[in-house]
Amino acid sequence: MTVNLTHLRRLEAESIHIFREVVAETDKPVMLYSVGKDSAVMLHLARKAFYPAPPPFPLLHVDTTWKFRAMYELRDRMAKESGMELLVYQNPEAKERGINPFDHGSLHTDMWKTEGLKQALDKYGFDAAFGGARRDEEKSRAKERIFSFRSANHRWDPKNQRPELWRLYNTRKAKGESIRVFPISNWTELDIWQYIHLENIPIVPLYFAEDRPTVERDGLILMVDDDRFRLKPGEKPVMRSVRFRTLGCYPLSGAVESHARTLPEVIQEMLLTTTSERQGRAIDHDQAASMEKKKQEGYF
């Protein structure tokens, strides 16, 4: 009798195939773990790929010290549960200079995230890094390869990408080159949510609505997650029922007002929503072609 594999099972099989291919053909792989929902799915798939062994590579969290507390909690719990080594990297220069999202604007992201990532990869000598980017996120990612090569100084050359045919990935790299690998390239946001629901994957509770202390600033609802949040004169945290659609540094992540307290409710709200996912993320508002530019500079 014919077995009909659903689209989620096919996506899952493809991602597992990619994980195994990287482990078989590279020297020192690592998974970039940002603790968001895409990372959660990626970690789950990695565990499936190598079961009954734990995934044979560490988790790398490029930390900015400004993530939500709930993210740090889940990060540590998942590392323990998966039996994987957790590497946390914080750019020492950013730390020394006290780079923060309140005073330094885009420099904050550049130094903690972009520079921090490069430094971490160089420090440990990883030659392949799994990332949770999806092609449906925005136009410039639609043509990104699953195996994306970076020069020794981490630059991406969009003019010189290798064709990817069938399930055959050319993983050979020149000295100093490294590969960014995107195992969930072909997943959409809806696929991610459906899969989390189907597989009961733990995600940060911030994705669910709850009464949280917030302030409204420049059209964004921000959560006051700890006492480092600098309130402007006259500003007072207000309890609002909010949730987050994307997670990053808490002073940069916009919340949406919501009463979706369960996963099906979150998915329901997502489906009925009228603005696209990245709107909550401050990084994209900079310039039109900002993502393309950031990628060329080495941002994941």
């Binding site: 014919t2 594999l5 096919r10 195994r20 078989a24 190598f50 045919l165």
Partner: protein, 633 residues
């Protein structure tokens, strides 16, 4: 781009919605055509009509449409997908972009590639993972050179589901006659290159006719809309699962002394615990013990799943090996004929060693000079010494060690390969294996000591080749068929190789030039020889116009096993019968290189049997052939 249809079910019962959407299947397709054919507009329309557009994106789209759109005050759907112009400005390789949309029945992944000839490699890349191809035609222009090129490439890469989307019907007043003429024109071309079937749909991407909604302006059309077809076209799932089992081993999982699991994605077939398997190339056999997954052991696993197997015996097996059905394993060889698509600026260098990656095996390969290059616009075979960027050719290649493989027509996963330049490390070519040139000598997984005598004795007969030659329409197939029926009644084991049938499969890559006719006969000769090795009586019905090739085939066979039978029908008589209407076409100039008209037929000088069909009935002729075979003549 990601939002989804806000249908009533989402608001009413999200659990039911999730349940429904977890059962969707996945279809990957490619769209072929250029911007002028309205490709971007069509893709934009599919995204729009399946409600994949968020309000903020829609607002931006409306603003852009007014500012830079080409549709006046209307929405320019093409702006939803990256314009080629924008990509050129940014200096980004015009390339393959993947887009996603979903309906209640399926999730779709669209590979969007540019259509011009200089992007052949991009189209081949996009097509390599596609189940279906949408070939776009501008209804005002009909079948063009590029239509033929796209169809040829889609067919070459093994896409079985072709959709001919005749677009811009609004600009030809939704005229059925125009549509029918284009379809007829396309059909005759498609048949020529061996495309078995296609679905033609008249659409207007701009107005939306027959894209997702039925067209009121084309009530004469009763077929499915494009979206209906995409949602319901039968995938090859059942066929893939019915194939013999193949698992290219990707990784051996050894967490501890007690566990040794072989991981990979199943390339074909179905597997269950207890099934006998054979590891290739070594040929060692064992039994499947468990199918291990994170979610518990499975009772069975099928093509397309990524799994981990454990075996009952401790046998050697590592990355690059293929675990196959013990009784129906794939082949192992180190020399192949293959179609090669060159993808690099640096032309192919015959003799230079390249890395060849096929499945999970990576070996060193040498490519010989191409036998020919295919003109992708006319499908003509051209002489070539090398292959340049975007060129497609056929060449022999050899690998430094034997690899497990299948013909590409059988398996994309075990017949498709890439070539990697050892210096630049770039992926320079894609290839598709036709067949191996000889079975690797050092592989003994098959009991080779069963000789041809054993085969023949088991069948209680003497093998032979009955080689029928003569003009098209002379009566070769008719008589050969009768002979085979009579032999079957006599309990003889036979096989009839018919010209037309062989050209649909084994020799579908060959045309009708002199060189191709020679190769056609050489291959048929080789096949016939193998069949006599298997003890069969082989009947062949080919025009086989040249003496040299018929003599060559005679030389291939064991002495006394080759019988040349000349079906002698004068040209005028064959032309008068013209049962396939081919002479008429040839006289009209529609068929080139037609034997007897503009290509010569060299009659046998001393055939083993000559049958004059103007005086002999087919029945009598068949009796004569039997008599010849039994040594009674």
């Amino acid at each position: 781009m990601s939002s989804y249809k806000a249908d009533a079910l989402i608001a009413k019962d999200i659990d039911a919605y999730l349940e429904q959407h977890q059962r969707k299947s996945l279809l990957r397709f490619i769209t072929c055509g250029s911007v002028d054919d309205g490709k971007s507009t069509l893709i934009g329309r599919l995204l729009y009509d399946s409600k994949m557009i968020f309000e903020d994106q829609l607002a931006a789209l409306e603003a852009d449409s007014k500012r830079v759109g080409t549709q006046g005050q209307n929405i320019d759907f093409a702006l939803l997908v990256d314009g080629l112009a924008a990509e050129r400005e940014q200096g980004i390789t015009i390339d393959v972009a993947y887009r996603f949309f979903t309906t209640e029945k399926r999730k779709f992944i669209v590979a969007d590639t540019p259509g011009h000839e200089q992007y052949t490699r991009n189209m081949v890349t996009g097509a390599s993972t596609a189940d279906l191809a949408v070939i776009l035609i501008d209804a005002r222009k009909g079948v063009l050179t590029q239509t033929r090129r796209h169809s040829y490439l889609a067919h070459l890469i093994g896409i079985r589901h072709l959709v001919l989307a005749v677009n811009k019907m609004d600009l030809v007043d939704y005229d059925q006659v125009t549509f029918d003429a284009i379809v007829a024109d396309y059909r005759s071309f498609a048949e020529q290159i061996g495309i078995k079937g296609f679905t033609a749909i008249p659409i207007s991407g701009f107005k939306g006719d027959n894209v997702t909604a039925r067209s009121e302006a084309m009530s004469w059309y009763h077929g499915p809309t494009l979206m209906d077809h995409l949602e319901t076209v039968e995938l090859d799932v059942a066929a893939d699962q019915a194939k013999p089992f193949r698992l290219p081993v990707q990784w051996v999982n050894r967490p501890n002394q007690d566990f040794r699991g072989f991981c990979g994605m199943i390339a074909g077939g179905t597997i269950k615990p207890g099934n006998r398997i054979r590891v290739l190339p070594s040929g060692k056999t064992s039994t499947v013990k468990r199918i291990v997954t994170f979610d518990g052991d499975l009772d069975q696993a099928v093509a397309g799943q990524s799994i981990t197997l454990t075996l009952a015996d401790e046998i050697d097996c590592s990355r690059g090996d293929v675990i196959a059905d013990a009784l129906d394993p794939c082949q192992v060889a180190d020399q192949f004929e293959a179609t090669i698509v060159w993808m690099a600026q640096e032309p192919m260098l015959p003799g230079r060693p390249y890395w060849l990656k096929l499945g999970t095996q990576t070996v060193t390969a040498n490519i010989q000079a191409p036998k020919y290059q295919v003109n992708v616009n006319t499908m003509e075979h051209l002489a070539a010494k090398t292959l340049e960027l975007n060129a497609i050719g056929v060449a022999n290649l050899s690998t430094d060690r034997a690899i497990a493989f299948e013909a590409y027509a059988q398996s994309r996963d075990l017949g498709g390969f890439i070539l990697i330049d050892k210096l630049s490390l770039a992926t320079v070519a894609a290839g598709m294996i036709h067949f191996s040139l000889r079975r690797s000598q050092n592989v003994h997984w098959q009991a080779l000591d069963v000789s041809r005598e054993t085969h023949a004795n088991l069948k209680n007969q003497k093998p032979a080749v009955l080689w029928f030659t003569g003009l098209s329409g002379a009566g070769k197939s008719t008589i050969a068929n009768l002979v085979e029926k009579k032999l079957a009644r006599m309990n003889r084991h036979t096989f009839l190789l018919d010209g037309d049938n062989v050209r649909h499969g084994l020799n579908k890559d060959l045309g009708f030039t002199d060189a191709d006719r020679v190769e056609n006969i050489r291959r048929v000769g080789e096949v016939a020889r193998l069949m006599t090795d298997a003890g069969l009586i082989v009947l062949t019905a080919f025009i086989s116009p040249f003496r040299a090739e018929r003599d060559m085939v005679r030389q291939m066979m064991a002495p006394g096993e080759f019988f040349e039978i000349f079906i002698d029908t004068p040209l005028a008589e064959a032309e008068r019968r013209d049962e396939k209407g081919l002479y008429k076409k040839a006289r009209a100039g529609a068929l080139k290189n037609f034997t007897g008209i503009d290509s010569p037929y060299e009659a046998p000088l001393s055939p083993d049997l000559r049958i004059d069909t103007t005086r002999t009935t087919p029945e009598q002729a068949a009796e004569l052939v039997i008599a010849l075979l039994l040594g009674e003549l």
